[in-house]
Subunit: 465 residues, 2 copies
Amino acid sequence: MSAAKKAAIIGGGVIGGGWAARFMLNGWDVSVFDPDPEASRKIGEVLDNARRALPGLYDRALPPEGSLTFCENMAEAVADADWVQESVPERLDLKHRVHAELTRLAPATAVIGSSTSGFKPSELTQQGARVIVAHPFNPVYLLPLIELVGDADHCALAEPTLHEIGLYPLTVRKEIDAHIADRLLEAVWRECLWLVKDGIATTSEIDEAIRMGFGLRWAQMGIFETYRIAGGEAGMKHFMEQFGPALEWPWTKLMDVPEYTPELVDLIAGQSDAQSGHMSIRELERLRDDNLVGMMRALKKTGSGAGAVITAHEAQLTLPDATDLPVTVHRAIPQSWTDYNGHMNETHYVELGSQATDGFMALIGADAEYIAGGQSYFTTENTVRYLSELHAGDVVRVTTQVLVGEGKKMQLLHRIMRADGTLAATVKSFMLHVDLGARRSSLPAEAVAERLAQYTQAHAGMSAE
Amino acid sequence: MSAAKKAAIIGGGVIGGGWAARFMLNGWDVSVFDPDPEASRKIGEVLDNARRALPGLYDRALPPEGSLTFCENMAEAVADADWVQESVPERLDLKHRVHAELTRLAPATAVIGSSTSGFKPSELTQQGARVIVAHPFNPVYLLPLIELVGDADHCALAEPTLHEIGLYPLTVRKEIDAHIADRLLEAVWRECLWLVKDGIATTSEIDEAIRMGFGLRWAQMGIFETYRIAGGEAGMKHFMEQFGPALEWPWTKLMDVPEYTPELVDLIAGQSDAQSGHMSIRELERLRDDNLVGMMRALKKTGSGAGAVITAHEAQLTLPDATDLPVTVHRAIPQSWTDYNGHMNETHYVELGSQATDGFMALIGADAEYIAGGQSYFTTENTVRYLSELHAGDVVRVTTQVLVGEGKKMQLLHRIMRADGTLAATVKSFMLHVDLGARRSSLPAEAVAERLAQYTQAHAGMSAE
């Protein structure tokens, strides 16, 4: 096995710390040079965040973490480095001084990248330094984008390493102030300043206008593919012809607009065909919708943005009335629950069982408030019998029957049924009541025990098949 | 029970169809007026998409779908309507004609909304029409944002209905061309046209610059909360002082920038405090990270954008070598797998088991290629014993032991172990080999049967505890 690779981080802070974390968590050794006496604390905080978040992104474990060394000087930091990343403050004189040193000290084979958003490579290399722009986005340990700008060979050398540590290098064709993404951010930021200044909207309202709408679209397809869909079967050219004239309207206070020539329309429509032409508009729509549903369901877990809207709406949706047995779940199967076999994955039958247990717990008073008070039920055994396939869009209901309900013990039989009443699966769950502070089994509160006893009695003698 | 409410949709197409779908899937009856002979087909296509996607957003079933009626004239469509939504082409003379009719024909108690992005309410009401702007975002059946602009009482009347059908009304304080979101979109679109025209980037590269970076951030927090985090503990004012000067740089070709006065900085910093001041920067960072990980994991399911980057990176991550038993899973527990009890939900023990089964199937040659060829294994029974709690960030490995491997049958015992080797759970899975075309059990291919037999033999006599 070869020794770990080494990255030198020149300048800590949020961006340098993010690079350090990205490298370390991918098994690289990291040396930091930053004269700031707070550098170690600052990088430590970023590392804490990264260790908490990045490993959860993958369905495989990351390699063992590399080492972290704080160095007294730049020479020590860059010795034997495979990658040198500069993230010092955005002052050109400082960048020139640092890069003159890095070019002299770093191995000739090392990539030397600058995190600058403000300077073009031609500005960084004015005094002969060997450096490219490798511009990341915060949080660097999670977001994949790195804009590479500068010498083509140097950029080509950088690309494989960036892929290796899970990043997405985007090589910019020509240098330009602020590269690509920050130009777009800058345009929006300026428009936001106008909106706040003119009293049209507050910061909070502008954030909602973004994250409840186009922000969700852009997280998965960007702007051109989104508009290609808006153009429908008639295509990108149609969209541009329709949307184009709007550009001549007095929509913003910023008036310098490229002339909307047929050549520009053809250029964009042609690039859009090359980008997305392998999929029909219908296919793009469905991919977009699967992405939106999946992301909004993820946001529902944390209650952010569109996720909070779903939760509030869902609270208005009622469960069907009980017949013999209480209905504890009534829902559709999302596309994200299906797998390569074209049906609902075995995992989500247990998710339905878990939701049914939650529903039944609420019925006996072991609800969110009870749990917040420090008591709950933990499952100790589940037996799932898979009887027939379920597919995306199928609507199911789950009934819950008490098999055992005494003392600390509760055993439930959940029957997962299709809309036509046929059985798709059963989940038999055995649970113990738990004191959440002590993490030990305990007796339920009297009111819960009483309601459980009522169900136990009512269900006694029913078939458990 | 009261009769279903009624929405009148004036003008079909993608936007009108999206409104129709949103209302119908929330139990409203919908009447459509659109002289386009293709209207029925177009709305039908949007409805197909909506039926496929919207129900999967929720963990509760939506109410029974309302009816859809195509009307011969506007009077019929709007009779007894609770909501009238106009989505005709963006021509002011046409809008004036339609709204004069709607004001005359619609019940006085109905909300009358226009989907216009191009016109202000003062323009729509020039000739005395009763109408507000209710501007949606495509796909209307999924994205929550509706910008409301116009008469305050009329907007207030509209809000509860929008909440009821799962939307997020954002009332704009003062009318302005293009409302809020489209002003931001317009600013970005214009900058994108420059970038393509000047050969800096292609449409595809610009889309990657968005969806691999800030697009993900904006889907969950918008621009101001994101920058508040970038400001760190020093706060929004610090961020603005740091970032502000950049606005004076020649970053874009669009130069009319609001003057960056202390008053503007205070206004924005104060609004940001009101918006996000209840959370520390550390809390905001962790919420952001949980959101990013959750959304990127959702994108991994479809292979879009950042999700494809994760999959490619993951392919480089190897499993530990086998000792007695093959290691079929080695991974960290994501935050999104935990629940209100502060530990990994019972569901995801089965997800680990399912991943272990996938890993073992790959070992015996029943891999992705084999499945694409039309054969697979389906689980018929799972028994899960939950032995101890797992938490976000815990690294686990799963070993797999064959209990039965003959003919169509395969039974596996997956042991889920913490990093220290202690057992967290066992999943016993019983499976049948299946012909994916016939959806019936069948014998595995000879090569698979042989490799399964080798494992079966090697594991024979091992303890199944």
